[in-house]
């Protein structure tokens, strides 16, 4: 089956991203396809490359990055939600005249149309969050 995952909550504060990650891993192991992972609301914060969680804890962003690399996942961060929360990639930082960027290269930023299109293309769209 082909899945699109929607993640609406930030890392550590909420388990949504962890659950989505575990789901994605299990689904891929079973031979299913993840069409897209879309990060929205505070979920965009999962894409920060600057987080430093304690060494004995999981690193949520790196977990996603590794899974994304292994399976060539399309991991999309909503640009409107990201800008609102100070999440920028290098291109966007340049365009907006900001002096830093923080989005991990495993993720790409794009518009909400990618979420709707993900819902159209997938057999199931699963939401992780409140």
């Amino acid at each position: 089956m082909k899945f699109t995952l929607l993640i609406n909550e930030g890392p550590y504060q909420h388990q949504a991203s962890d659950t989505a990650y575990q789901f994605a891993k299990a689904a891929l192991e079973k031979g299913h396809e993840i069409y897209r992972v879309f990060f929205y609301n505070d979920g965009v914060n999962n894409a920060t490359r600057l987080a430093i969680p304690p060494q004995d804890d999981r690193n949520i962003t790196e977990n996603w990055a590794a899974l994304g690399k292994e399976h060539e996942l399309d991991m999309v961060v909503c640009i409107a939600a990201a800008q609102r929360r100070g999440m920028l990639d290098a291109d966007e930082a340049g365009r907006q005249g900001k002096d830093a960027d923080n989005i991990h290269p495993a993720f790409r930023i794009s518009g909400l149309g990618q979420l709707v299109e993900g819902g159209i293309q997938a057999d199931r769209l699963l939401t992780f969050g409140d």
Binding site: L112, G113, V116
Partner: protein
């Protein structure tokens, strides 16, 4: 844009202010209009307050985005289901809800708001391809 038309239902369960969910859900709804899908909205639980009349955010400093719901009809989004029990549980009636309308193919103004019971809503949800709730 796409060969397949799916039924998308956006379920709004939270108050318009206090968290960002209502505002950011509306942003997805407006984008979805560009994809020529069969889109409907649900307002239940505290979500009914999202389309309540006479919202005034002046004292709280929040952005009042309630006027954006009035534009939905222009985007051909005209199935707005309001759950009857949610209104009743909060001491509200349809008189407290914005008069949201759309123009049909003959330019006649029609109401977009449809009052449904919890049981009817369950049936409607069952018919959907994609349900996104927040």
């Amino acid at each position: 844009m796409s060969e397949s038309i799916k039924k998308f239902m956006f379920v709004n369960t939270k108050a318009p202010y206090g968290t960002v969910y209502a505002l950011e859900s509306l942003e997805v709804v407006l984008i979805s209009a560009a994809f020529d899908q069969d889109v409907s909205l649900v307002f239940c639980d505290d979500g009914v307050f999202q389309i309540s009349n006479n919202q005034n955010t002046e004292a709280s400093g929040m952005k009042n985005f309630s006027n954006a719901y009035k534009a939905l009809g222009d985007y051909d989004i005209n199935k707005l289901y309001v759950e009857k029990e949610s209104l009743e549980e909060r001491g509200l009636t349809l008189d407290n809800i914005m008069d949201l309308t759309y123009e049909d193919e003959d330019w006649a103004e029609k109401p977009s708001i449809k009052l449904v019971t919890r049981a009817e809503l369950a049936d409607l949800m069952d018919e959907q391809d994609v349900v996104i709730s927040s």
